[in-house]
Symmetry: C2
Subunit: 213 residues, 2 copies
């Protein structure tokens, strides 16, 4: 039994996926997700196994959640296999120990190993659905961020423009941010830098529909 992790980051207005070239058959030369075979000697439970996997990729304490399990006779040509799929969100500046980032747009042109393209689809679906009613996207931003950056993250994930006023009221009401006192300066009015109050995911009471409802 194995773990497969869909690791995403946000970079230059695009969602990027972490993949690595596979060195041996089956699917030699194809790209694959960060994965791990559970080692019953070393891993006391699924969480520690996931920790071990993410440590190997130096993705230490990033946000993660279980997405689903898939198992079948066909997904691995060598025989029955089961995998537990996780979604992992990391900041834009994450340094890579292994693998490479691929923008989602490039995905159709890539050759992925096993059924990994479906695992990615499931994780993306989770990200998109959950972003409509929770603060999940904050985990794609850095330590400190502005409300505009957060709004942009939602817009990229949900692929629809958001209403700025409504968006801000909503985020403020959720009380998940705290003002760092610092500002992000640029060529224009500086924006307040926020941090998340707790590294969790808060659910809203209403679903966002974006600009066209």
């Amino acid at each position: 039994m194995s773990l497969d992790v869909v690791v995403l980051r946000l970079r230059e207005e695009q969602i990027e996926l972490l993949l690595e070239r596979r060195e041996r058959p089956p699917f030699e030369g194809s790209l694959q997700l960060p994965a791990l075979r559970i080692d019953e000697e070393r891993d006391r439970d699924l969480e520690t196994a996931l920790d071990r996997l993410l440590a190997e990729w130096s993705l230490g304490d990033s946000y993660r959640e279980q997405v689903c399990s898939l198992g079948s006779r066909e997904r691995d040509p060598r025989g029955w296999s089961t995998t537990l799929v996780y979604l992992c969100l990391v900041p834009p500046t994450t340094d890579l120990a292994r693998g490479q980032w691929y923008p989602l747009q490039s995905l159709p042109a890539l050759r992925l190993a096993f059924d990994h393209i479906q695992l990615v689809a499931r994780a993306l679906e989770r990200l998109r659905v959950k972003s409509r009613y929770s603060t999940l996207p904050v985990h794609l931003l850095g330590e400190e961020f502005t409300l505009s950056e957060l709004q942009r993250a939602y817009e990229i994930i949900l692929q629809t423009p958001m209403n700025t006023a409504a968006f801000r009221k909503r985020i403020h009401r959720a009380e998940i941010l705290c003002d760092t006192g610092r500002k992000r300066t640029g060529k224009q009015r500086p924006a307040i830098l926020y941090r998340i109050e707790a590294p969790s995911c808060v659910l809203f009471d209403q679903v966002m529909n974006g600009a066209e409802g």
Copy 2:
């Protein structure tokens, strides 16, 4: 690797859980969830394994969804084990081939095998959270049902009274019901009997808060 299913029904204003007495060690004499060890010869994938398990309990085509996976060295005293937890909702009149129904209220007094009490908690959590923003509870009703019965189901699951007018507007807007033309008669005004349009689970755009908001 095994599947464990939390099967629930609604009966006499209570949620009931399907359990069976365990005949052999470990946890001999304790109660356990319907479970199955995946048979890589017979089961082509997880879905067919689940079908096989539910068929053994004559719970044929009832509603089911994956809740989570749990795996650790401790959950089975015989060694590492992983289970995939499913939630299954059945109508009140379901005939049992095996096991027995236990009202949730009686659960604290029961002795459950393994970590099954936690699996039940996870599945119940899913039912409660998802009932706030979806039509999930319809799967606990029979083929035909009235809006009052549906409202009562929500109230029992969420443990809070609902506003009747708001509830009905919401359900009608979701367009998941169709009028059977038949009526449920009693000692009072007959109520329209509805069927669900498709055996699925529709998400609302807003979360229900119940009477006190």
